[in-house]
Symmetry: C2
Subunit: 142 residues, 2 copies
């Protein structure tokens, strides 16, 4: 469904969000540990997210990554930043473009699923998810 990079990215952002609520600014070592992901690869991904303004970063001692207070960040924005929006817009059978006028054989069926995925990602906020995480109801690793 999502690329590895995107999976790590979402997990990282959720951890950063949780820590931001506690006024902390986790660094890459802490993030990779909390999320059980390869450290340098996770760094790359966090840098990409920071460059596009999805998360914020501070260099130097006591630096790290954090989230804007009361950010309205959604899953959809993270996914689009890392994997692009082809999962939300592209043809499921790989035709150069999805179009109702020239549909592939599964167009109708997939439209529902894809629309469901899209709506879900757009309506799910990171804050909302990190809340449950903080309460210990959900987990970022085994």
């Amino acid at each position: 469904m999502f690329s590895k990079a995107c999976e790590y990215g979402i997990r990282s952002v959720l951890f950063i969000a949780e820590q931001s609520q506690l006024d902390k600014r986790p660094n890459i070592v802490e993030i990779a540990k909390a999320v059980d992901s390869p450290e340098p690869f996770t760094a790359k991904i966090c840098q990409q997210l920071a460059r596009s303004g999805i998360i914020l970063s501070r260099k130097g001692p006591n630096g790290g990554f954090y989230l804007e207070k009361d950010s309205k960040l959604t899953l959809a924005e993270i996914v689009a930043c890392i994997d692009g929006d082809s999962i939300f817009k592209g043809c499921s059978l790989g035709l150069p473009q999805c179009s109702a006028a020239h549909p592939c054989p599964v167009h109708d069926q997939f439209n529902d699923v894809r629309e469901g995925l899209k709506k879900m990602c757009e309506n799910t906020t990171v804050t909302q998810l990190s809340e449950k995480l903080r309460k210990g109801e959900t987990f970022l690793k085994i």
Copy 2:
């Protein structure tokens, strides 16, 4: 969503199904042309599908690939053969396993989407799709 191999695989099977209805047995060259996919790669995929009995094949002159008459083949079987069933069962954030007892933060939300995808693939038959294809209502390439 699906791998390139899986996209080519589904498109190929749909073309084979359409041609089977016309009592034809297209070969790799014809399939790759109809589906606009790289010929040798498509060959690999069709071989894999044939080996697992999802499609049938005949060597020699006038040989090619075909489908069992009145086959009840579904999309789900093709996807599982090529991409495995991780898209139907795996955790969307890449945790080693999806479980309601130890859920990732998006487990609930994704469960709906994934279940929708699964049901859709299981309930959509190749025959049903190739019918529309034969009528010229849907397309396998631009």
